[in-house]
């Protein structure tokens, strides 16, 4: 069975004052129907740029290489018109901050129906009744009343639900969610995670979830790709990776998290240093300057992402399970 979305060798270079800078450096992953695929990483890892590239939403001058097969097309090679049909209709996107992703001066009804009428060619009345259904689906109380309201009349969590309803309006196969809960409180975040989980179970929606929060990944993602400095350094089923991380970076991220069952007065083990900016990525394995397990060869050789077990890939010649710190 072929995957719904299959990304291969995706490289993105962005124009800067000092020339083109490689932000995403060759990543591969598949998204199957009804699955949640997580892309985790810290700021500057290229995780957001990697999905903006799929939707042709990068700034002018960006150079994209590789392929992304979706429904029989390489969406990285589609023309602007064909891409416009994919975007919004076949692949929906939800951004981090619902304060800025919704138009403050337009009613919720207008924002929900506009692209439905454009993409699906349905009447104003049909679009309106579908909008009410969508708002019910994302559990907005008084959906009919909400159509006439403006974004500022809703709380952050409600706004993010509305943004999800807009992304789902044309019945996309894939929803790309970029840090959809980062700006929200945990209690509200839990509601959004439950909503996304329900959608993929009931409507077989596929979700590409981008977040730095491994707790969020643990609760919702079937597959996890950990990105560092533009590359995927570890990939596999979420329970397997979080239960037994094999890359020193993944292990380090997990050790830095406050654990609910940790004994008292344990200090968090932090990864030394800070993630490199795309302009100044180190040679060899990009993680080697911060890695406690680094070998001399790590400073020069870029490790490939290779299968180490069924469904698990790792880009590290050192296995933290085997080498003591």
């Amino acid at each position: 069975m072929t995957a719904l979305l299959s990304v291969r060798g995706l490289r993105v270079r962005l124009p800067t004052a000092s020339g083109l800078v490689t932000v995403v450096d060759g990543i591969d992953y598949d998204v199957e129907m009804g699955e949640v695929v997580g892309i985790a990483g810290e700021s500057g890892s290229g995780k957001t740029i990697s999905v903006l590239a799929l939707l042709d939403l990068l700034p002018a001058g960006a150079v994209v290489e590789g392929s992304a097969q979706f429904e029989g097309h390489d969406i990285l090679r589609l023309g602007r018109r064909a891409m416009r049909d994919i975007r919004g209709q076949m692949i929906g996107m939800v951004f981090q901050d619902p304060m800025t992703s919704l138009h403050p001066m337009l009613t919720i009804g207008r924002q929900l129906t506009e692209h439905m009428r454009f993409h699906l060619g349905i009447s104003a009345g049909a679009a309106r009744s579908r909008a009410v259904e969508l708002l019910d689906d994302v559990r907005i109380p008084d959906a009919v009343g909400a159509l006439g309201a403006y974004p500022h009349q809703f709380s952050g969590g409600m706004r993010q639900r509305i943004a999800i309803a807009i992304a789902l309006a044309c019945g996309p196969r894939i929803l790309i969610a970029d840090e959809p809960t980062t700006a929200l409180d945990v209690t509200v975040q839990a509601g959004i995670l439950r909503l996304l989980d329900g959608l993929r179970r009931q409507s077989r929606l596929s979700v590409v979830m981008i977040t730095h929060d491994l707790g969020v990944m643990s609760s919702i993602a079937d597959w996890l790709n950990v990105m560092y400095a533009g590359r995927i350094v570890e990939s596999g089923p979420t329970p397997s990776i979080l239960g037994a991380p094999r890359h020193p970076y993944t292990a380090g991220l997990l050790a830095a998290l406050p654990h609910p069952e940790a004994p008292d007065d344990t200090t968090l083990v932090s990864i030394k240093g800070a993630p490199p900016s795309p302009q100044a990525r180190p040679s060899g394995c990009p993680f080697h300057p911060r890695c406690t397990y680094a070998l001399p060869a790590c400073a020069t050789n870029v490790p490939d992402l290779v299968f180490i077990a069924d469904e698990r890939r790792l880009a590290c010649p050192v296995d933290p399970l085997l080498v003591p710190a």
Partner: protein
């Protein structure tokens, strides 16, 4: 007596033509020397307002703030006295709280010059000492804030606060703009400041998991009121207030077990029109008649523990809210097969 004490603090924002908003509606809190007090709550609960009022950046409408035995007066045009400046603040965003055009060392030396705590000749040495204390090389003094990452900038902001030789630092969401690894570094730094320098910290955060790691005592705030205070470990093991229980259940766990966190239905109500009775009652799964009419006071439930909830008797037994009633909370969304895992 506590180093910093908030007594029945109220802060009201007035808006022309609209009802005033009581963002802090009578909150009491104390910070001892060398103690880390975590203040947690959702967006809009008034925790940042409380922080600003605690250092005198906002004028309380009622109640008072006491620092080292003296009442904190709202900040005016005149510089704070050396004694008042022993109460310092660190802000959420180190990208805006540091001056981008001045060198790191000059900014850290400012409090020394203004307060006269270090003579001019000793300032450079003291700056190096402070930078090392927060885990940065002394050479950082000659550089600019933009040369540092978010976590490092937050360390610089902390070093600047330490330059005033404070006995208490109020920190408003100091970790929330940082990546996971930087968060852990700054969290560990804060903990060691309290232990080694004996500075009291009032740490405002929406992240209960990180607060659990560094705070000795946690205060939980809901809609302008402190609803529970307890030693951190006991709060975590057996939350007494239903709101605290909901906050803890909503934290996702990075253990790969696929456990979906529990959602708390509803939103924080409009603080301009708080619900009658207990402010949490419309969202509370254990609500009963009394909650709808009478606001519960913050009462001592066990030693060192206070809760504002009618489920608990004064100096009664520590019991989890869920033990009082069958769980009546409706399951919030799909995916319930994962509950209780």
């Amino acid at each position: 007596m506590s180093v910093l004490e908030l007594r029945e603090l109220e802060v009201e924002y007035t808006r022309p033509g609209r009802p005033p908003v009581r963002a802090v509606a009578g909150a009491s809190l104390a910070v001892e020397a060398g103690q880390v007090v975590g203040l947690v709550g959702e967006t809009g609960c008034g925790k940042s307002t409380l922080a600003r009022a605690a250092v005198g950046l906002l004028k309380p409408t009622a109640g008072s703030v006491w620092f080292e035995g003296r009442q904190v007066r709202p900040i005016g045009r005149r510089a704070r006295s050396r004694r008042d400046a022993r109460l310092q603040m660190v802000f959420q965003n180190p990208f805006s709280s540091l001056n981008p055009r001045r060198r790191v060392g000059d900014q850290i030396a400012d409090p020394m010059a203004i307060l006269g705590v270090v003579p001019a000749t000793g300032r450079r040495e003291r700056v190096s000492e402070l930078l090392e204390q927060v885990g940065l090389p002394a050479a950082a003094a000659r550089r600019f804030p933009h040369q540092y990452s978010g976590g490092q900038r937050q360390r610089i902001a902390i070093a600047r606060a330490l330059a005033a030789e404070p006995s208490v630092i109020v920190l408003d969401e100091p970790l929330s703009s940082l990546d996971a690894s930087a968060q852990a570094q700054v969290a560990n730094l804060l903990q060691s400041l309290a232990r080694e320098l004996h500075v009291g910290l009032l740490l405002i955060s929406h992240d209960l998991a990180i607060v659990r790691h560094i705070a000795d005592v946690v205060a939980v705030m809901y809609l302008g009121l402190v609803v529970e205070t307890a030693p951190t470990r006991r709060l975590w093991e057996a939350p007494l207030h239903p709101y605290t229980e909901a906050l803890i259940e909503a934290i996702p766990r990075a253990d790969g077990k696929g456990w979906l966190p529990e959602a708390l239905p509803g939103d924080v109500p409009d603080p301009a029109r708080p619900p009658a009775g207990c402010r949490f009652h419309p969202r509370c799964p254990y609500v009963f008649d009394r909650c709808r009419t009478e606001p519960p006071p913050l009462i001592p439930v066990a030693s060192g523990r206070h809760a504002a909830c009618w489920l608990h008797e004064p100096s009664g037994v520590e019991r989890a809210p869920s033990s009082f009633a069958r769980r009546t909370r409706p399951s919030s969304d799909a995916g319930d097969q994962f509950d209780g895992v």
